[in-house]
């Protein structure tokens, strides 16, 4: 009788313990996992997440994290909202993450705000994004955040006149606006601001007209891939480097494109938030694990944004014990700071946006022939300068 009762009690105890043992926290990740942007964002997102999980295991004993990936190839707010709604209502995710394009992130903000879903933005870089939902946190960057220190560096180097040439779309315009503001406030002069259509492939005419203006430097913002390749080559071919017009960029030499840029890239100076050549134990460990899991992958800024975003998710899950407590989760991550592969970073307690170092880097060739962004100067703890605008 007693043994039977004991057995029953044990069984009941075991059964009630079971759900606690296998508690699963679901995270919906929305990004371009197929299509033209998968190489520069979707794959790095997945690699950053998987690398973090491989290095850190589960957030706490008895809490498992399940990532649910949803494909959103291009800016399509309607679909972004539908995916976020479905992940929350049907799949029961406690957290959302990802989002490359600003309109998509803003469309999902309504869901995040109303359903109280803490969301980590892995990319969408317009300043306004994070303010759209009280449950938004960002671990990438904004264009003002990297353009303002870049302008400061140009002033420090003694450049007094620049021409800006950016691709005519949201991020390009953001970069131009904040660079021009910082540069003119610092006493510099902007001779001309050129906005080039996104589809431009022949940059020769632009560069020739810039050459005639003889500025000290040329500030550039271009999106990933082919436009960057042809711009850099045109910069060399038209002899702007020999004419003494310095190249001032931000994300142009990032790792996803760097090796394909080839020798034309050597010597280019840019200001950005992550270089794979950043020297720290954290970066080495990150790169080693990434190389182990994905031998062909380059450590990109997008990979690191997702890696740190996963850290933010883990912090929130740990702080709330895996329970759905959105306000507790946000309170835990707002104001948090940690050592990322990119260097020290923190989440601003008020804006929930990232605060991070911006590095001035110059492209160098290593002995094995690979190109790297060598960090030569650090602007510490840069906020998003666009937030107040």
């Amino acid at each position: 009788m007693t043994t039977k009762r004991l057995l029953a009690a044990t069984l009941v105890a075991a059964l009630t313990c079971l759900p606690a043992l296998a508690e699963t926290v679901k995270v919906g990740v929305v990004g371009p996992f197929s299509g033209p942007f998968s190489g520069s964002f979707g794959e790095p997102f997945r690699q950053g997440i998987e690398t973090y999980v491989a290095m850190n295991g589960q957030p706490a004993d008895g809490i498992e994290v399940e990532f649910i990936y949803r494909d959103l190839q291009s800016p399509d707010p309607g679909r972004a909202r539908a995916l976020a709604q479905e992940l929350v209502a049907r799949d029961g995710v406690q957290y959302l993450a990802g989002f490359v394009f600003t309109p998509n992130a803003i469309a999902a903000a309504g869901i995040s705000a109303q359903a109280k879903i803490p969301t980590v933005i892995f990319n969408a870089s317009a300043s306004a994004v994070v303010s759209q939902s009280p449950y938004y946190v960002r671990t990438s960057n904004t264009l003002p955040q990297v353009s303002v220190p870049t302008a400061q560096n140009a002033l420090d180097k003694g450049y007094t006149t620049v021409v800006t040439a950016v691709s005519d779309y949201g991020p390009g315009v953001d970069a131009e606006t904040s660079f021009v503001k910082a540069f003119t406030e610092g006493g510099g002069e902007v001779l001309e601001s050129i906005r080039m259509p996104l589809s431009t492939t022949d940059f020769g005419p632009y560069l020739q007209s810039i050459q005639l203006k003889k500025p000290d430097a040329l500030f550039v913002f271009l999106p990933y891939g082919p436009p960057t390749f042809s711009f850099v080559n045109a910069y060399r071919d038209n002899g702007l480097d020999d004419a003494g017009i310095a190249f001032v960029g931000t994300s142009e030499t990032q790792e996803v494109d760097l090796q394909s840029l080839g020798e034309a890239a050597i010597g280019l100076e840019t200001g950005y938030f992550y270089s794979a050549a950043h020297e720290s134990a954290e970066n080495d460990a990150f790169k080693a694990k990434l190389a182990e899991l994905y031998p062909d992958a380059e450590p990109n800024p997008a990979t690191v944004s997702a890696f740190d975003g996963t850290h933010a998710l883990y912090e929130m899950i740990r702080a709330t014990g895996g329970e759905a407590d959105p306000d507790g989760a946000i309170a835990a991550i707002a104001g948090a700071s940690w050592e990322s592969p990119r260097g020290p970073i923190s989440i601003d307690p008020k804006t929930r946006d990232i605060v991070q170092n911006v590095y001035i880097r110059v492209v160098e060739q290593e002995e094995n022939g690979r190109l790297v962004n060598r960090e030569i100067k650090t602007f510490e703890a840069q906020p998003d300068y666009g937030a107040a605008q």
Partner: protein
């Protein structure tokens, strides 16, 4: 009598389908709302492609005009949904009317090219007017007042779905009436043999402009629905890609039949959605294969195939 029964039955299909979908997919109403809105655009496209026989890749111009029109109206004038819907419809109709005056003087490939050009001009205007439209960051901050002053827009998208479904239903009923009217018959006659209609004294240009404007108004309504329920309008709504997507849906469902447009939108979006869910990386391959299969085996589209199947089961010769 049977005709009356049939038309009542046909009128009940959309409400019944909406109820069924809401029951089968209770937690995906924002997605269902997307389907209803897309079905409405495809329906409007069917008027131009199916009934007037004019292939266009510029239907997004009217959809986008409706979306931006309704969004700007909600942001700067009044956030009431129904008047916003009318504004969207008018915006679509205006763009359609103005462009039709030029478009309907051309034919075939020239027509197709012009529709693309007009869409791209609008796209660039909206892209450049960042102060008003937000450029490619999108136009956001839209918060709608309750529908009819009673129903609040919820994040589950329940109201969004029923709102879109009711508009779709009413437009469908209206279009059934119109395509069977003398106007609708003339439009089809123009499609089949324009010269003959002209010889008989019909006004080809006038009929085409009127039809294109009607179609633009409906696309504008769909755009307005999207702006009001998603609360963000992006440049996507004005893109040639979107125009091409809805054309694929129409061809897949069966152009020239109102049911075809509805079925095409429903099936295309379902396949897209679930294929992308099963394999977020390689799903485009499956979708491509399915499209090829439909084009190869069901040249009259899904609805044509369905009809043939029903006829065969009933032992009739294919129509």
């Amino acid at each position: 009598m049977t005709n009356l029964h049939r038309s009542i039955g046909a009128a009940a299909v959309i409400p019944l389908a909406a109820v069924a979908l809401a029951l089968i997919f209770p937690n995906q109403q924002a997605f269902l709302a997307q389907i209803a809105i897309t079905a409405l655009v495809v329906l409007s496209l069917d008027l131009v492609v199916g009934f007037a026989g004019l292939a266009t890749l510029g239907h997004a111009a009217m959809y986008g005009a409706g979306a931006y029109g309704a969004a700007l109206y909600a942001l700067h004038v009044w956030a009431e949904p129904l008047t916003g819907l009318i504004v969207g419809g008018l915006a679509g109709a205006t763009i359609a009317f103005l462009s039709a005056l030029m478009l309907m003087r051309s034919h075939g490939l020239t027509f197709l090219m012009m529709t693309v050009a007009i869409t791209q001009i609008l796209y660039e205007i909206v892209n450049k007017s960042r102060a008003v439209t937000g450029g490619d960051d999108g136009l956001y901050g839209i918060v709608m007042k309750p529908l009819l002053g009673v129903f609040e827009f919820d994040f589950y998208g329940r109201l969004a779905f029923w709102y879109a479904a009711v508009v779709l239903w009413l437009v469908f009923l209206l279009l059934r009436h119109i395509v069977a009217s003398p106007f609708g018959l003339t439009v089809r006659a123009v499609r089949d043999d324009g010269d003959r209609v002209a010889t008989l004294g019909g006004n080809i240009f006038g009929h085409r402009v009127a039809l294109y404007t009607l179609s633009g108004a409906i696309a504008g309504l769909a755009g307005a629905l999207s702006a009001q329920t998603v609360q963000v309008v992006g440049l996507h709504s004005l893109s040639v890609t979107f125009s091409a997507d809805i054309l694929v849906m129409l061809v897949m469902g069966g152009a020239g039949r109102l049911w075809g447009g509805l079925l095409g939108a429903l099936v295309f979006m379902m396949i897209h959605h679930y294929a992308a869910e099963i394999d977020p990386v390689r799903w485009m391959l499956f979708v491509g294969a399915i499209l090829v299969a439909i084009v190869l085996f069901l040249p009259k589209g899904l609805f044509g195939g369905l009809e043939a199947l029903v006829n065969r089961l009933r032992g009739r010769a294919p129509a």
